[in-house]
Symmetry: C2
Subunit: 153 residues, 2 copies
Amino acid sequence: MAYANDMAVDAPRAARTGTGLASALAVAVNRLSRRLRQERDSDLTATQLSALGTLRGHGPLTAGALAMHERVQPPSMTRTVNCLVEAGTVRREPHPTDGRQVVLHLSEQGAALLAAERRRRDAWLAQRLRALTPEQRDLLRRAAPVLEELARG
Amino acid sequence: MAYANDMAVDAPRAARTGTGLASALAVAVNRLSRRLRQERDSDLTATQLSALGTLRGHGPLTAGALAMHERVQPPSMTRTVNCLVEAGTVRREPHPTDGRQVVLHLSEQGAALLAAERRRRDAWLAQRLRALTPEQRDLLRRAAPVLEELARG
DNA sequence: TATTGTTATACTCTATAACTATA
DNA sequence: TATAGTTATAGAGTATAACAATA
């Protein structure tokens, strides 16, 4: 016997039947993520923006801590940070007590760029959201933190 | 004056303040999408599974139609399809009336692989979902089709 | 001439393994 | 010896531009 998610691959069907939530959610999230990536229009990629956003939200972080927050392996973060430093959006500074660690700081230029890029990146989604009903927007407003919690796990 | 989404970068804050929904949603969706990609454990990638899933849902499609559904450019889909054909999960067949077009069919082997992979991919998310409250799950169940609708735009 | 699909090429993201420097 | 970060290397996804075949 197949699993429930083999019988309900699309979100509308999952909503009707009450089965396959995991599958429907995974598909929807992946599609929307890809769609959002298409809408960015700048020098910074979605991955770089995400790292900058984390630095803005949390303040300075070590390379390892940033990698953990972004859920990537350290070498991947090294590469991303190299791009960000080269673009002048992030500064590498020595750790005060541990010579092995590096502390990453968002530069003023980085903060400004982040704000501008985020506006651009969100423009498409914000426009789409305005086309929804108030109830649907409220639904998404309450769902967003739950999605974050799922990702945090 | 900055946009609302510059003041609320994280989902919980957006939920509290009622601002920055687009930004919070974009961040949450991107994080969860990346997290889900980490959880796959198979020969097929998330992109390949998504293409197979679309073929299963819609039946045979031309290369161009599949690219449109997956929201990628035709050359990207060519590459994905090459991998799928090489893996024996998809067959290329000639279009009955138009010699330029190619019709892509999900093979039986592809359907079986898809089912198995989807189970594996969803296992992590399903487990995480069980840790939520029934209200949160219901929230996501209703949010999933809205996310799909946003992506479809 | 327009359309469909592919090939050529390049760039980004990501990972694992190996290496360096420091604790 | 263990840890933090980087470098080296490789594989996948995506895109644009150029090309082939067909309509």
